[in-house]
Amino acid sequence: MVTGFKISGKKNMSLKNKLTEYLNPEYVYIPLISGYDTNISVFVKKNDYVYKGTTLGKRQGNFPIPILSTVSGTVIGFEEKYYLNGEKIKCVVIQNDFKELVEKKIPICDDITKISKDNFIDILKNNAIVGLGGANFPTFAKYDTDKNIKTLIINAVECEPYITADYTLALDHAEEILEGVNAILKINNISEAYIAIKKTNTKIINAFNKYIGTFPNIKIYLMPNLYPMGWEKSIVEEILKKSYDRLPIEVNTVVNNVSTIYAIYESLKYSKPLLSRIVTFTGEGIEKTLNIKAKFGTLVSEIIKKYCKYKNTNDLLFIAGGPMMGNSMKCDDLVITPNLNCVLVLPKLKQENCIECLRCGLCVKYCPAKLAPVLIKNDCENPDELKKYEVNRCIECGLCTYVCPSKIRVRDYVQKAKDTIRKENK
């Protein structure tokens, strides 16, 4: 049974204004990190000239994927900037020459369904296609498998409140996305695809319905309006009624975010590397709320200054990510990365009075990972008990804290429990 909780969306805020492009920053700060892996070999030094798409560094461990320059210009040094997890990361600073030069032009591919599987994997790898839903996982790795892929699920659920980045993209590019899905199905010999959309999102449903008739293998699946319905595992369980342990491939399924699919399409069709994304700038703490397409490495502070403007109050919170899973940041010196889907500025919350747990069981009831947060909380420093509770299944969706009637920060205790396990394993 898939569980979730209805949380009011507040999505209209960022849809009031049109999608804006901000693709010409004077400097970009490309963080030398891939997902949360900072073990990167760096290929450039100060004063090197780089083209748009030049490899700046490469992840060393599993799933090697290049880190690309998003502008053409000169490397002027290295500087630390904030990453969305709240830590400072070393970045390559490039001064933009606004020429948008690329190393070599590759012609447009006429029929992307004819690309071979090996070629497909290479294109995804070389164009640095990663999951844009938040995990930042190299996309080629999902397809580079011995297992037979039977189902492709396109995640257009975007269940977290406030965020409309996927929504905006899907609305404008429904046809291209369907073409991309069709190509992926043909290349990988996958028999069916589902586009998972919240049933309340009628605009997107209509956008896809307009073109879907040409693609008999692609179906739209209407998801309940619950949080966190956008979690891979919930989607697979809801659509296929199958449960897996770690990865969807265990049940012969690949799940891709809808924005990732569009990035795949662009890389197949135009050999375009993944260099930019749509980020939702929203929240009650800024004057103008909108979606902005920006290059990776662009400073968030620059965008806010130019487009959004903070409201004139001191009690603001600056959050990288959505209101449920995002991180509250010390300052806005943050760079845009593939996994940053939202910048949320909120007035500080009224501190709710936290009282004793009454064991109502709501956190257990709603936990999408089927954990028992209330019991984990009581044993959060006892590693032996915690192993029985399988704490590491927690996806930190924050629903346990949200539903708690006693206003206990339940997720903090679960995170503490995860730390306890981590220490024990070392």
Binding site: I319, M325, M329, L358, C360, K370, L371, A372
Partner: protein, 590 residues
């Protein structure tokens, strides 16, 4: 570059609040409290059976312990914890243990007991464990069990009855009544003394103040489930388990549906399942845990009700299972990742369920024949040819019924009541019930009781059944003995002075015998002097100048109203006059 404070997410607050859940709980309890007030206060008051104190008694039984709980926490917080007491009680929902305690107590519990019980419930059941959220046992039940152990003796048969029920229902609570037949019995034995199963469903049966109405408990259950306040699986599994087990037990004894309905509708099972077993603090948090908990509660309740001397099973079952919540939750956590892990536990419980129901069902059938009515007594038995005359006694409502029953040629030919002092006996006479019984002597079990005098009519019926049974078994053994007949009305003296007749008579009153001096001149009562009386509410008779009122209306005495609040005393006075007049007319004519 702008700097910000760092806080932990999520950055949204839900409207869900513990105080809101507790408010839902209170809303769900309100109809139950109002019904308790209506049933135990308003109905008896309207029928003139109680005074203003009795009217508000049911409310007091609920409010007093709730208040005690509140004050106990206030004192504890300010003296021992040295914290802001008001803030402490606000966050610990302090009045609930006492409120629940009041609702599961008998109506006539002395106030001192209620206060002490609520104090223990709050202090031992809740505060000493560390306060709200930390207690292992349901506090209200801790208080209840304390009262049972500490005051066991003072709990009489009619402690549950309100004064209206005292008049209309002979038996004690349904389960205590059922325990006389080892908990298992037919519709006639278990349900009839209280009317029908509808009375059980609606709640017009004797029982703890808030426990009797299954209907209101079901309404509360629906409300609390829709508002996501309670763990709905627990009551569903609990009640279903009791139903299934009782059904199996019933199958062995040809009782079937009515018996299982009797089991789930009586003894506060519904109230316990909806409100006590779902107490969030002391119940499991996982789904599988809640199901296991509910089933175990059901099994335990059936076991306690049938295999122990204690008729009530809900309270002890819940307290027992409270201890195991910790383990049950661990099972539930592991079963969540893989439901197969719960199979051994569920199968064990189902085997237990079936095994225990069969054991109880079969075991009961063996002892079914040796059933003796402890209230029946044969004073004497005379045999004269084909005629046997019995002098027998059987418990009625408020007195022992004594009767002469004559059986000729294996048929009951006369059934004469020698002595009785039951209120509302007149209804028996009006219904010509004794004749009905004689007419239907072949199928007495099917004869309906008389509405409003359940206890008395049931006693009359049982007396006849028992006598016939005795006749069939040992009809030819004479029993010699004396019957002491305590007469209801008696003429002690009759002095005649010309046309002035002076009668000294006695007549049973409410709690004492009334002794009257009645003077009759020319068939008209000229004076009534009360020589002796010790009735509780006699003052009301005086206040209303009732005797003069009777004298003024002596031509139509039968139609004279009684005095509200002193019904029995005033009826006795009226009857004394009527009977004296009868005697007088008989005397003067003869």
């Amino acid at each position: 570059m702008k700097t910000f404070d760092v806080e932990k997410g999520p950055f949204l607050n839900s409207k869900n609040k513990t105080s809101k859940m507790m408010l839902h709980l209170f809303i769900a309890l309100l109809p139950i409290i109002i019904f308790a007030f209506y049933k135990n206060g308003i109905i008896p008051y309207k029928n003139g059976l109680t005074d203003i104190k009795g009217l508000f008694l049911p409310l007091m039984v609920v409010i007093l312990p709730a208040l005690t709980s509140f004050l106990t926490e206030m004192l504890y917080a300010s003296i021992f914890l040295k914290v802001d007491a008001l803030k402490y009680v606000k966050n610990s929902f302090s009045f609930y243990p006492g409120l629940f305690l009041g609702l599961i107590m008998p109506l006539n519990t002395p106030f001192s007991m209620l206060i002490l019980g609520a104090f223990v419930a709050t202090l031992v059941g809740k505060l000493l464990f560390g306060g709200f959220g930390n207690n292992i046992f349901n506090p209200a039940l801790v208080g209840r069990i304390f009262i049972i152990t500490a005051y066991a003796i003072t709990f009489g048969k009619y402690v549950y009855h309100n004064s209206y029920e005292l008049d209309t229902i002979a038996s004690s609570t349904p389960l205590t009544n059922a325990s006389l037949v080892e908990g298992i019995g037919s519709y006639n034995e278990l349900v009839r003394p209280y009317g029908s199963l509808m009375n059980f469903f609606v709640g017009t049966i004797p029982g703890a103040v808030g426990e009797t109405s299954a209907l209101l408990c079901i309404v509360a259950f629906l409300y609390l489930t829709l508002t996501k306040t309670i763990k709905w699986r627990i009551p569903v599994f609990y009640v279903s388990t009791v139903f299934i087990m009782a059904f199996i037990i019933g199958l062995f004894n040809d009782l079937e549906r009515t018996y299982s309905l009797f089991q789930i509708l009586s003894g506060g099972l519904m109230f316990g399942a909806v409100f006590m077993a779902t107490d969030p603090v002391t119940s499991p948090t996982t789904f599988v845990g809640q199901a296991l908990y509910g089933i175990s509660l059901g099994i335990l309740t059936i076991v306690f009700r049938h295999l122990t001397p204690y008729p009530e099973g809900v309270l002890t079952s819940i307290l027992t299972m409270n201890m195991l919540v910790f383990i049950i939750d661990k099972i539930g956590v592991r079963a969540r990742f893989n439901i197969k892990r719960s199979i051994p536990y569920f199968s064990t419980l189902i085997i237990l369920m079936l095994g225990i129901s069969c054991y109880i069902g079969i075991g009961y059938r063996k002892g079914n024949d040796t059933e003796i009515d402890p209230n029946f007594e044969i004073y004497s038995k005379e045999i004269n040819g084909n005629t046997v005359a019995y002098m027998v006694g059987e418990k009625g409502y408020s007195s022992t019924l004594k009767a002469k029953i004559v059986i000729t040629n294996d048929k009951v030919v006369s059934y004469e009541i020698l002595e009785q002092n039951d209120s509302y006996y007149s209804k028996i006479t009006q219904a010509n019930y004794l004749n009905t019984l004689i007419k239907n002597q072949a199928k007495l079990n099917d004869v309906d009781i008389v509405a409003g005098v359940t206890f008395t009519s049931n006693g009359l019926k049982k007396m006849l059944i028992n006598t016939i049974d005795d006749y069939k078994e040992n009809g030819n053994e004479e029993i010699k003995g004396d019957v002491v007949i305590d007469k209801d009305f008696e003429v002690l003296e009759h002095n005649i002075n010309g046309n002035i007749h002076e009668y000294i008579v006695t007549k049973k009153g409410f709690s004492s015998k009334l002794k009257l001096n009645i003077t009759i001149i020319d068939n008209i009562i000229t004076s009534v002097v009360v020589l002796e009386q010790n009735d509780s509410y006699y003052g009301k008779v005086l206040e209303s100048d009732y005797i003069n009122y009777l004298l003024a209306n002596q031509s139509k005495l039968e139609d004279v109203d009684t005095v509200a609040g002193a019904t029995i005393t005033s009826t006795s006075l009226k009857q004394a006059l009527i009977e004296t007049l009868k005697v007088h007319i008989g005397d003067t004519n003869g």
